[in-house]
């Protein structure tokens, strides 16, 4: 038994590993501090396009984290309790604690994915209690090889020594049942090799599993705003002074109040 509970104290709880602190980053995405100004809109939106392109190039979201999340989601769904599926509140007479570590072998560079240890792996750690999943999931990359559009990618630990090269904030209300249905904030500190060229990959973004698209926090007047791509292709800016939908083709932004401006 790895975590046997002693006989002396019937209420003794399992000791869970301490997750990294993501509160500052989460605050950035939950309450944008920057203001949207038409004068800086063009630079701001360009920043978003650059970040989105970099992320797409790494394939981190679609080729790595999405299958990893799907594997975890499948396991958690199988483990959900009847009360969760009924939408009932957790049982007040139950105190539970647990920790889960997931290791997924990467797909490799071959024409067909193979579960070969030589392909490297990604690992994640998830804590949970009777109330559901703890808000932070974290993990590391270990020479993870995969393909994006037929081109090779290699994810390596950054060497910064921080706890969790990959960090995910899944919110305070995540349960075994609704995991991967709510917006996730990700923070990565990795080294990525693209077509043989290595570079640091330090990025944070918000991932919407339903839309399968990222949002980025980009610098604006007075702080950061959150920029995402809407279903119509327009960019949506969430700022301290409101929400704005911007069309790059027309160089116009429309506020949620109905006011529009050019940039």
């Amino acid at each position: 038994m790895g975590h046997a509970v002693g006989c002396g104290d019937p209420r003794e709880r399992l000791e869970k590993p301490t997750p990294p602190d993501m509160s500052d980053l989460v605050a950035v995405y939950q309450s944008p501090s920057g203001r949207f100004e038409p004068a800086t809109a063009e630079a701001m939106l360009a920043d978003f396009e650059r970040l989105a392109a970099e992320l797409e190039k790494t394939g981190l979201d679609t080729a790595v984290l999405a299958p990893l999340g799907a594997a975890l989601d499948e396991t958690l769904s199988a483990a959900q309790t009847p009360s969760e599926t009924d939408g009932a509140r957790p049982r007040p007479d139950l105190d539970a604690d647990g920790t889960l570590s997931l290791r997924r072998i990467c797909a490799g560079w071959g024409a067909e994915p193979r579960p070969d240890q030589a392909n490297g792996a990604l690992s994640l750690r998830v804590n949970f209690s009777e109330a559901g999943l703890d808000p932070v999931i974290w993990g590391d990359a270990s020479s993870c090889k995969y393909l994006v559009g037929g081109a090779s990618r290699l994810l390596l630990a950054s060497g910064s020594g921080r706890v969790g090269d990959v960090r995910l904030w899944i919110g305070r209300s995540a349960t075994f049942a609704n995991f991967m249905t709510q917006v996730i904030v990700m923070d990565v500190d990795l080294t990525v090799e693209i077509d043989g060229v290595r570079a640091a990959l330090r990025a944070d973004f918000q991932w919407d599993p339903a839309r399968r698209s990222p949002s980025f926090a980009v610098e604006s007047t007075g702080g950061k705003v959150i920029v995402s791509r809407g279903s119509t292709g327009a960019l949506r800016v969430s700022a301290k002074n409101g929400t704005f939908d911007c069309e790059l083709a027309t160089l116009r932004c429309t506020a949620d109040t109905g006011d529009s401006s050019s940039f």
Partner: protein
């Protein structure tokens, strides 16, 4: 049967046979001075007394030390032994402590033949008790039984492997009144109150949902779902003691306590009580 269990059976059987053959103590069971009921009290058997019955077998090693075993668990190959030590016997006051141990290897029951796993159930009891005989006819006894029942098992399949354990901790307070109305008959009132009954489980499971993924889960849980608040029982009865034969009959109401593991059942019901044994 496990070699250790077989040895224990042989030792007990030998002890019983030896006691039966060599006992020179007179047959005694009447409600006389120096003779006390030993169930639910701090009293022990006299040295070399042998108690035989369908529910329990006990032997008085010394006046202050009784060893015994419950019969029913042996039916399911569950070796069990209890020892009661009377450490105080002064004037009207008598104090004792009883400890018991039980072990059941479920795999020996051949129930898991088709399953790649095993399970072992163990139980331990610790029961201090105090009796005061305030007059020739009246005895009051209090005991505080604490019981831990633990089950441990492991599984190893192609899909996953793991080890799990579960336990129920139970703490009770009991009160027993005995009033002797004749040499052969005594009235009994026994009550029981559940202080707590907590269930807990912990385990570790390694899952392999696909060829790429390995998931290692460790978890521990405690539940008060079995902690039936306000659980109690009261049983009134009568104890008949003859030359060597003893019979206790009773009926009561409340939450049933499953002896010898002291597991309290939910819901209140009518509780019948029967105990019969011979003391040689």
């Amino acid at each position: 049967m496990h070699r250790g269990h077989r040895r224990l059976v042989l030792v007990l059987a030998a002890a019983v046979a030896l006691a039966a053959v060599s006992s020179t103590a007179p047959a005694r069971a009447y409600h006389d001075d120096g003779e006390q009921l030993t169930d639910g009290t701090a009293y022990t058997l006299h040295a070399r007394d042998l108690r035989l019955g369908p529910f329990k077998v006990q032997y008085g090693v010394f006046d202050a030390l009784t060893v015994g075993t419950y019969v029913a668990p042996w039916v399911i190959r569950m070796p069990n032994l209890h020892v009661k030590w009377r450490y105080l016997h002064q004037g009207p006051w008598t104090a004792a402590v009883q400890v018991g141990s039980y072990r059941l290897d479920v795999s020996e029951l051949k129930l898991l033949n088709d399953h790649p796993g095993d399970a072992v159930i163990t139980a331990g009891t610790f029961e201090p008790s105090l009796s005061v005989r305030s007059s020739e006819d009246f005895t009051l006894s209090v005991s505080l039984p604490y019981t831990v029942v633990r089950a441990e098992g492991s599984l190893d399949t192609e899909a996953f492997e793991g080890a799990l354990s579960a336990a129920v901790d139970n703490f009770q307070a009991t009160l027993a009144l005995e009033y002797r109305i004749s040499r052969t008959t005594a009235l009994l009132l026994r009550s029981r109150y559940l202080v707590f009954q907590l269930a807990r489980a912990d385990g570790r499971v390694v899952l392999r949902p696909d060829d790429y993924t390995t998931i290692d889960v460790s978890a521990a849980a405690t539940s008060s779902a079995l902690d039936f608040k306000g659980a109690w029982s009261a049983v009134a009865g009568v104890a008949f003691s003859f030359d060597s034969f003893n019979l206790e009959l009773g009926a009561g109401y409340g939450n049933w306590n499953v002896a010898p593991f002291n597991f309290v059942l939910p819901g209140k019901m009518v509780i019948p009580e029967l105990e019969l044994y011979w003391v040689f």
